[in-house]
Symmetry: C2
Subunit: 179 residues, 2 copies
């Protein structure tokens, strides 16, 4: 019987920088004099402040390659590798919303997190199905339906949430579990 | 708060007839005078009694179309539809072992079980991650790592298992939950 505690980790906007990639694509698309930055996006949703780009978001997400080339979020590799030595790590991503993403997400994890076991990847929809002690996720709705301890990974769209401990960076996660 | 109990259901050899399809392919491949039947396969593993076919099994499973055309196991649609009215149904399949299967499995579920929500599909590896009250699975190893109540769906390879209630058919499952 494995006595390690178990941490489930969301991919998009937690490990993979989906948000910044979409913002860059939006800036290209809208071609405005003052492009959006992480700062101007704070507290807002891309689809709301750039409605002209809303439909294009779905087109990008439905592209089988979109998730393959996403940048890795800073420090996530180092901290998850460290967590991996003390906890059972599962990757829990809401891939069912974008079935075109399955292979790209699988290959992205293989490339950037080769130390994680593939049997610990979980492609799901509703994270209430995840049995783990912790879930690190940027989506408050998923944290609410999860039955363990939820940690909110900071993202522009979740700025006003106060219900869960907020992790502003992977260094915050490191401090949370090791200090 | 949803108070329905939750049943997780495995796909291969529980909903989709992977076993019979592989046996048919094996019979074609081996072309013996006495082809295998469900009865002669009882208590055995295909790869062990037809070692010449063992490698071909992996080739078939790696074919992106293999899982798309599998026959539906008898009565599974009727009984799962009935369960769906009284329980939260999640589909939990060990798809991470065969990543080529993702899209085919997704489309197969969409076609044959359109009444199930896609957000309740779970593609995983190790089913200890599944938080549910029941798991119906043909694999005793998965039932052992699952933390709810395990029900063993009968298959030739699990003939000697006695640790879990055995479901010989979907009619057995129906009786288990409704009688």
């Amino acid at each position: 019987m494995d006595m390690k505690k178990r941490i489930a980790i969301d991919m998009d906007e937690v490990m993979a920088d989906t948000g910044v990639r979409l913002m860059d694509l939006c800036n290209e698309f809208c071609n405005e004099e003052e492009p959006l930055t992480v700062t101007t996006l704070r507290g807002k949703r891309l689809a709301e402040i750039r409605p002209a780009f809303a439909e294009a978001i779905h087109t990008h997400l439905a592209d089988t390659q979109f998730f393959r080339d996403l940048p890795v979020i800073e420090d996530s590799q180092r901290v998850i590798r460290k967590l991996h030595r003390h906890y059972d790590i599962f990757i829990a991503t809401a891939a069912m919303e974008v079935p075109a993403s399955f292979t790209a997400k699988y290959e992205w994890l293989e490339e950037h997190f080769p130390f994680l076991a593939k049997k610990n990847y979980v492609f799901c929809g509703d994270k209430s199905i995840i049995r783990a002690d912790y879930l690190i996720d940027d989506n408050p709705r998923q944290l609410r339906s999860f039955q363990g301890e939820g940690l909110l990974y900071d993202a522009p769209h979740n700025d006003i949430e106060t219900e869960f401990p907020r992790m502003n960076s992977w260094e915050d996660v490191e401090r949370y579990f090791f200090e």
